[in-house]
Amino acid sequence: MKKRVKIHNNVKKFLIVPVVMSLVIGAAAIAVSFSVASDALSIGNMFFSDNQVDYSKSFENIFVPTTNTSDTIDASEVEFPNIDKQFGELKIKGRDVDAKLFFGDGKIPLRNGAGVYAGSFIPGYGKTILVAGHNNTYFNGLKNVKKGDIVKINTSYGNYEYKVTDTKIHNAKSKKSYDLNANKENLILYTCYPFDTIGLTEKRFFVYADKISGPKIVGLYD
């Protein structure tokens, strides 16, 4: 009988306790690092993926920081990005938004940063710039954005600043949330809403901003 107790104690000591302790510590670490389950699942996605393509690496970067402070830049000096290329970076100081900026808003851009909808325009064009980002990664910080905040977009051809004028929640299918025909440079950032929801949502959180500085692209039309 004593032998059985010894075996039981050894199993308890060397197998069950270490396994349980590792799981408890692991779970505690996840809980501390990430307040909600969706974030834990996002991390899980990085390790367990049924996608063969590694979207974190397969993109081209044409962004080279510039100190250009002129008011205009000729179109011939601008390298217009193709879809899935990184051409800049987007930051909102103090709001935890800092993302690589891509042209196009498919899987590669949203896996690696924020993406400009290809049916909208790049900064400096004088029209609408519609930018998407995931709510539990690069655009989670949009929940902290307030009116008057400055959104900075740096590209290889110029550095831009936009002042936040409003934030709104719209249904994803609503066409009232954007105007792709606008003839005034305006920046629209959006992400899924509520911010910490698991899975798909019908609503989107929009941030609207107007251009305050950065070179206008001239000579676009012959």
Binding site: L41, E77, A118, D222
Partner: protein, 190 residues
């Protein structure tokens, strides 16, 4: 003489290395195609427009190429044929077109895309269009909504892995409790 030629070549390379010019901007040929795309199509007296998202995507692509006048002329001619076809259907809206009429419209889009060495593909319902470059890059994609899904989508493997860990944790905890109870029962007996 050779030295002079070599000097001129070096000078030319040197000058060009200072400014990088891209195939940027919209030339007159591209502008004529965009203008044609923006014009309304009359369907049974009802003016129908190509959505801004398509035209803007075309403009973005035109900013990366230099369309020749011959290419613009061919594309404008195909757009003209597509207009005449839509007018001839007698329908008032694109949504009223039959699947064979949609397919025919798609064929016009493919013909126009092929002028620029691009290929057009449509979804099975021929409602969504995707135009792809020779190297597989997406030029126009209307297969998704303008506003995308920006919530993290979990893969099934992730759900299985996370659920597996949770089950393992519960089983281990249960095992610990049961073995603890057994041990204390045995100690009481002995």
């Amino acid at each position: 003489m050779k030295r002079i030629i070599a000097f001129l070549i070096v000078l030319t390379v040197f000058c060009f290395s200072f400014t990088t010019a891209f195939a940027a901007g919209i030339n007159a040929n591209e502008a004529s195609v965009l203008s044609n795309m923006r014009a309304p199509v009359s369907m049974n007296g009802n003016n129908v427009y190509i959505p801004a998202s398509y035209i803007n995507q075309a403009e973005a692509n035109f900013n990366t190429i230099d369309m020749t006048s011959a290419q613009a002329s061919k594309i404008n001619s195909i757009i003209g044929q597509a207009r005449a076809f839509l007018k001839g259907t007698g329908k008032s809206k694109i949504s009223e077109l039959s699947s064979s009429e949609r397919q025919k419209l798609m064929n016009y889009a493919s013909a126009a895309a092929s002028v620029l060495k691009l290929s057009a593909a449509a979804g099975s319902n021929t409602k969504n269009v995707k135009i792809i470059s020779k190297n597989g890059g997406v030029v126009v994609d209307d297969s998704n909504n303008v506003i995308k899904t920006t919530g993290q989508q979990q893969s099934p493997v992730t759900y299985i892995a996370v659920s597996g860990l949770a089950v393992l944790f519960i089983l281990s905890a249960a095992g610990l409790i049961i073995s603890g109870k057994k041990a204390s029962a045995y100690e009481k007996k002995s």
